[in-house]
Amino acid sequence: MSVLYDIPGPRSRRRILIGSLIAGAVVLAVLVVVVLRLAEQEQFTAEKWGPLLDPTTEEFPLVWQRIGLGLQATLAAAALAVVFSLVVGTLLAVTRLVSAPWYRWLVVGVVELLRGLPVVVTIFFAARALPALGIDLPILAYLVIGLTLYNSVIIAEIVRAGVASLPRGQAEAAAAVGMTRGQSLRLIQLPQAFRVMLPALISQLVVVLKDTALGFIILYPELLRTAQIIVQTTKNPLQMFFVVAIIFIVINYALSRLATYVEKRLSRSTTTPTGAAPAPSAQEGALV
């Protein structure tokens, strides 16, 4: 049931059916044109797809082995970046909540600066600036640092929103039994906030995973970079990048479904705190 139209009666149902058939025919026609065009340009040949789909070709095992390694590298970078972002982000959020004003402003400044920078810039400069300062690390570390710089401030904001979404009584009760602000955050507020934040955090995981595909700019052998190298010998960029896209879509789609599921689960099992700010939702975290 939508705001735009009522539940259709017999006449509108017929109209919708006719409209659907026409729309379906148009969509099908567009698809056919695309497929014909692809066939005409010889994009469905065994030569193009063989290395990816035909186990009897000699390239097949090599190609998939490299894709497997690339995927491993992607997942490793994403996992490390998420863990570090979570730690740094939580620290940023907590120190921002409990510290002296000058420090709070410093944190706000850093958060705003890093939020305004494209993540590709933070990755590139992590890989350029650290060696210039005499810090030599493996490429994976540069990618993780670049991703962490950007995502930790996003997570800091999610944590802040999560803490703010709790009813005020929680902090007040903690203060009333003599806890310091630090104790109250650590023992009372953060454990509840993380629960509330879980969907938004899982959605952020999707963002991090997508951003690891920027590793190619510093030649980190993640999935996209690996595909780029394979294409140089197999000469099938369209098919190769198509497969890479499918891999990302499957993983990310599963993650976003998980986020939605967790969100539903949480909203069902807890009574909504009254008088509290809205919790950060999965949708908010899933930005670009």
């Binding site: 494209p118 590709v120 210039a132 960029p237 990302f248």
Partner: protein
């Protein structure tokens, strides 16, 4: 800071190129995203399928993969063009999925009772849409839509990284690469360049939000 002051011209053209990519892609994303949102809320199932497939595919694919597919895939099927237009197309396609979702959730946020009430006092479909539904939907759409567009300005750096050149990101790469200039000042210059674009965009968004925000 010489690295920045000596290359102000280069930074200037970088900002302008980034702005150009962003404006063109933003326009394309708004048009495409609105069409797809229309598909997703339409009563015809085939159109809904197209809309949701569009969003699922583009939202879950990294922008760099979208750009690679277009920039290296399209020439394979005989579509030739400049990297600039491939980049703008890729960024517009990618962003349109997020625009679509922002608009769709805005429409869905209006309670069905609003339209029912409008119809029950005798408003036509057109009146219902323009006087009751859209004004409320726009209010919910503006903040997320603005955030999507600001994120798009930052994503234009990836277009530069894939090989368009001349934008802010590429200027940063060029200055640290060839000239061997100190990395930190160059980074500060690039950061300032992006902030010059994103901060006014954020202020504009805040203004727009206040303009449409009415307590409900």
């Amino acid at each position: 800071m010489n690295a920045v002051t000596d290359n102000l011209g280069l930074y200037g053209t970088g900002v302008l190129t980034t702005l150009q990519i962003s404006l063109l892609s933003g326009l394309g994303a708004l048009v495409l995203g609105t069409i797809m949102a229309g598909f997703r809320v339409s009563p015809a199932p085939p159109l809904q399928w197209v809309g949701s497939a569009w969003v699922t595919v583009l939202r879950n694919t990294p922008l760099s993969v979208v750009l690679f597919t277009i920039a290296f895939g399209l020439p394979e099927i005989g579509v030739n063009g400049s990297f600039f237009w491939f980049g703008v197309t890729g960024l517009a396609l990618y962003t349109s999925a997020f625009v679509c979702e922002a608009i769709r959730s805005g429409i869905n946020s209006v309670a069905p009772g609003q339209a029912e009430a409008a119809r029950s006092v005798g408003m036509t479909f057109g009146q219902t849409l323009t006087v009751v539904v859209l004004p409320q939907a726009v209010r919910t759409v503006v903040p997320p839509l603005g955030n999507v567009l600001i994120a798009m300005i930052k994503n234009s750096a990836i277009v530069g990284a894939v090989g368009v050149g001349g934008d802010l990101y590429s200027v940063g790469v060029q200055l640290t690469g060839a000239g061997g200039l100190a990395v930190i000042p160059v980074l500060i210059g690039v950061a300032l360049g992006y902030l010059v674009l994103t901060i006014p965009a954020g202020l504009l968004l805040g203004l727009a939000e206040r303009k449409v925000a009415i307590a409900r």
